[in-house]
């Protein structure tokens, strides 16, 4: 296997701790951002990202070279965040109620800065409200830049399923954020 990160992980499994630190440095920001998009909360994202690297540390003996290292790591992160998310679902329902009220008030507020803040909040909540598999696929492809094929490997599904998940995720977000659309649509410039 030519993936240099796989070589680092193999070196780590042999006992070279420096190889682990190197992998941590390479992926730290990406995993924090990934957990953040999945969990919708900075503090939880940092805690979850640390958990992911600790899990990686513990996985040194069981690691197999079959998959790319990034796929392996994102797989750990995805499962961990989905498990954490299951505990947060009720809070999200309450958050949605707050957001609806906030959007209603925002429609009457002329301040562009406030509108941007509300849009950011709405984006975060629209993402948080997606079902786990749609959010996972969307964040992997849109934010983390993985190909459809790699995202399918992380989520242990098919490439065509990822296609469908992303379509549904983006369609839902589009509808959800329609109230925040500020620019008139450019008809006949679809492509």
């Amino acid at each position: 296997m030519t993936d240099p990160e796989v070589a680092l992980m193999v070196a780590f499994a042999r006992g070279e701790e420096a190889a682990f630190v190197s992998l941590y440095r390479t992926y730290r920001d990406r995993i924090v951002a990934y957990c953040g998009r999945l969990l919708g909360d900075q503090a939880r994202a940092e805690e979850a990202a640390q958990d992911v690297f600790i899990k990686l540390y513990r996985a040194r003996d069981s690691y197999s070279e079959r998959a790319r290292f990034s796929t392996f790591l994102y797989h750990i992160a995805t499962n961990h965040c989905f498990n954490l998310r299951a505990q947060l679902d009720q809070r999200l329902v309450e958050r949605r109620r707050e957001l609806d009220e906030s959007a209603h008030r925002g429609a009457q507020d002329p301040s562009a800065q406030l509108a941007n803040a509300r849009l950011r909040e709405a984006l975060r909540d629209a993402l948080a409200e997606l079902p786990d598999n749609q959010r996972g696929a969307f964040v992997l492809v849109h934010h983390q830049g993985l190909s459809y094929r790699d995202a399918a490997q992380v989520l242990e599904t098919s490439e065509s399923a990822v296609k469908s998940l992303i379509h549904r995720a983006r369609e839902t977000m589009m509808r959800r954020l329609d109230a925040y659309a500020s620019e008139p649509s450019e008809v006949n410039h679809a492509l």
């Binding site: 998009r37 940092e46 690297f53 513990r58 459809y148 992303i166 983006r170 679809a190």
Partner: protein
Amino acid sequence: MRCEAYQEAWLQARYAEHAPQPRVREHIETCVDCQRFTRGQKQLDRQLEHEQPIEPGLGFDTRFFARLEAERAQAKLPRSPWRRPALWLSWASLAAALALALLLFRPAREAQPSLDEDVALMRELELVEELPMLRKLDEVEAYEVLARIRSEDLDALAAEVSP
């Protein structure tokens, strides 16, 4: 092909940063629903540019390496003897053997247990009310109480009650 499939293909091409296939492009150019979809998706991409970046906060590395150090220390510790399955099994075997020995070699009980023991046992099992013999015993007990009352006390009681 349904509109959804064209839209999926359009999105995939967008993420892969290449132009959609000619048949996908042709369909979208002529389909009102798909045009609405692609316009909405472009709008969504503009909105997504406003997303808050998520980065590790101050002290993230310090906290992580402290956790890692604790993890390393834990890994180096000899495992607690209580967590060794073989030892657990041997303790369990020993306990089972002791229980069997107690069962086999316990002192023999009296051949005829006393009535009091049986009554006490039945009281515990809440079977008392259903046993006629126990009702008789209660009656006898009541008679015994009556028998202990002195005749003088009865006369005094009668004098108090009578007008």
